[in-house]
């Protein structure tokens, strides 16, 4: 399979008596923006650490680009793990040169990358003089050295101010739009929802769910409906045969349609019966809700 970038099979890792990762399997294909979503301590960093050979699993395998892991492969992978790791006494430029040397690529792109993350003005300052936000930006620049085919990002917006968070998300979306496969670990639902095409939900080291983000989102759309005559609306909906559930929520009816019926059909049907909607909106069952349900099940 040429398209498969990463295959993880039955990874298990324990720290003493704590099972941090339990029989974890996953496939990631080229071009996907794959989110690993889970609360703190669910095993996200452990998973990414194993994929980068800095943590040894107890058992299980993984394959990058269809081959057994070896160190040279990691030159094709850009990574940011947990916190930015650099030599505090070296400048940004020197730190990036070391990474370029490790990956065996030329220094040519370093200036451009520093420009991209907005560090040009401070590129000769020592790393230890950087603010947290600047350190995180440098880590992002570092992960892009050598034009990686895969980008691994572990909580890339952790501890940043809202503006930097927005900028970094933009940057990730931009990177992903160029066909680079992204593996993003986050405990932030909206981050995964905004950036990712696919999601794996992880809790206490167990994979609870995996699939496309929009499938998870669209698994059960709800419609918010309102008309001048709410009783007539209710009656019409009840007899339409396409409605699974009607709930009153303040001034509106919250309606769960069966799978095939979209908002346009509902509108058309009601108009034909002389009921004109004053409000029609689609409400996704949020990833958050789905996530919380899954986690609650796992804890039950």
């Amino acid at each position: 399979m040429k398209n498969q970038v990463l295959e993880i099979r039955n990874l298990r890792k324990s720290y003493g008596s704590l099972l941090a990762l339990d029989d974890f399997s996953l496939q990631v294909n080229k071009g996907e923006v794959f989110g690993i979503l889970g609360p703190n301590g669910s095993g996200k960093t452990t998973t990414l650490g194993i994929l980068l050979d800095i943590i040894k699993p107890d058992s299980g395998q993984y394959a990058w680009f269809g081959a057994r892991p070896f160190s040279n492969q990691r030159a094709r992978i850009g990574a940011l793990l947990e916190q930015p790791l650099f030599y505090p006494y070296l400048s940004a430029v020197k730190n990036l040169e070391i990474i370029a040397d490790i990956k065996n690529v030329a220094y040519g792109e370093i200036d451009e990358l520093l420009e991209k993350v907005g560090l040009t003005g401070r590129k000769h300052s020592k790393f230890k003089t950087y603010s947290l936000g600047m350190k995180q930006r440098l880590a992002i620049a570092a992960s892009l050295i050598g034009k990686p085919e895969v980008l691994i990002l572990d909580e890339p917006t952790n501890g940043l101010d809202p503006r930097s968070i927005a900028e970094i998300r933009e940057l990730i979306i931009d990177i992903a739009s160029r066909g680079i496969t992204v593996l993003l670990a986050s405990h932030l639902l909206d981050e995964v929802q905004k950036i990712c095409s696919h999601v794996a939900i992880l809790d206490r080291g167990k994979l609870l769910h995996t699939g496309r983000v929009d499938e998870v989102l669209n698994s059960s759309p709800m419609l918010e409906l309102q008309a001048d005559d709410m009783r007539a609306l209710h009656l019409a909906l009840q007899h339409s045969g396409v409605v699974d559930e009607i709930v009153s929520e303040g001034p509106i009816w919250l309606v769960r349609m069966n799978k095939e019926t979209g908002p346009a059909e509902v509108n058309k049907m009601l108009t034909q019966q002389g009921i004109y909607l004053t409000h029609l909106a689609q409400r996704h069952k949020s990833l958050e809700k789905h996530f919380l349900e899954l986690v609650a099940e796992n804890h039950a």
Binding site: I55, K56, F70, R74, I77, L85, Y87
Partner: protein
């Protein structure tokens, strides 16, 4: 290998602590080399006042004895090169840059190799200081200079290198094992100054001569002087070949242990 040297060069070349430590070591060792004779002759002068025999001055710097003498006294300061190695191995843990290096594509074995190379280059530089000091001192102090004299006994230079290198590898292993600079330095010092000397006392000579630091020290025996010859005390005037083998064995052992540690551990 060039790639590894290039990577490590940046780690040290722009580090002030590294240069301070290295310079301190060089200044200290050169002072030891240049003042050792004066120092020893103080004792000889002292001995002269108490001994009725005519005691000759210590001919410390003339070729070919200079190599043996300098190598012997320089060997006492190998703890300093060991210290530099420990500091820069444990730094990679305290900055967590070992994680960063490996995740960016350095193999675990490559990382180890880069530190072995560092220990090697450091020991080579120290040996070069010995060569330069020895040449200067020998040229100035040899009464009847002959070319062949200069190259007699240069095996001591190689032995000096081996002594420093194998000790640096021990320091490297302790750094990888303990990962924390303060703790590693203390353990290295305890082993060097306390643990092994006690073991040497307790064990019979046949056994204790196989201990690492002991074998490193035995590589280069106490230099003979005219004074000692007068008292019929004779030390080995050549590099001790069995100890070359024992030291080499320990060097390989330290690297092997470090490799096993690195191969199986999380960073």
């Amino acid at each position: 290998m060039l790639r590894l040297i290039k990577i490590d060069f940046k780690k040290y070349a722009y580090n002030r602590t590294f240069w301070i430590l290295l310079l301190t070591y060089f200044i200290l060792i050169v002072s030891v080399f240049f003042f050792a004779e004066k120092f020893l002759n103080l004792f000889v002068a002292d001995a002269k006042t108490n001994v009725p025999l005519p005691v000759p001055d210590f001919s410390f710097y003339s070729f070919p004895y200079v190599w043996h003498n300098l190598a012997f006294f320089g060997g006492f300061f190998k703890i300093l090169t060991g210290l530099i190695v420990v500091i820069f191995v444990t730094n990679e843990y305290s900055y967590k840059t070992i994680r960063q290096n490996v995740m960016n594509g350095m193999g675990r074995g490559e990382f180890l190799l880069s530190k072995v190379i560092f220990a090697g280059l450091l020991s080579i530089s120290a040996a070069l200081v010995l060569v330069i000091s020895g040449l200067i001192l020998g040229l100035v102090n040899t009464p009847e200079l002959r070319f062949s004299l200069i190259f007699t006994n240069i095996g001591f230079i190689a032995a000096y290198f081996l002594e420093l290198f194998s000790f640096s590898l021990l320091a490297m292993l302790i750094g990888f094992l303990l990962r924390q600079s303060g703790l590693s330095i203390v353990m290295l010092a305890i082993y060097f100054y306390i643990a092994e000397p006690i073991l040497v006392r307790l064990l019979p000579d046949k056994v204790s001569s196989f201990l690492p630091v002991e074998s490193m020290a035995n590589l280069i025996d106490f230099p003979n002087s005219e004074l000692m010859k007068m008292f019929n005390v004779n030390f080995n005037e050549f590099v001790s070949l069995p100890d070359v083998f024992i030291c080499s064995f320990w060097s390989v052992f330290f690297v092997g242990m470090a490799y096993l540690l690195l191969r199986n551990r999380d960073f």
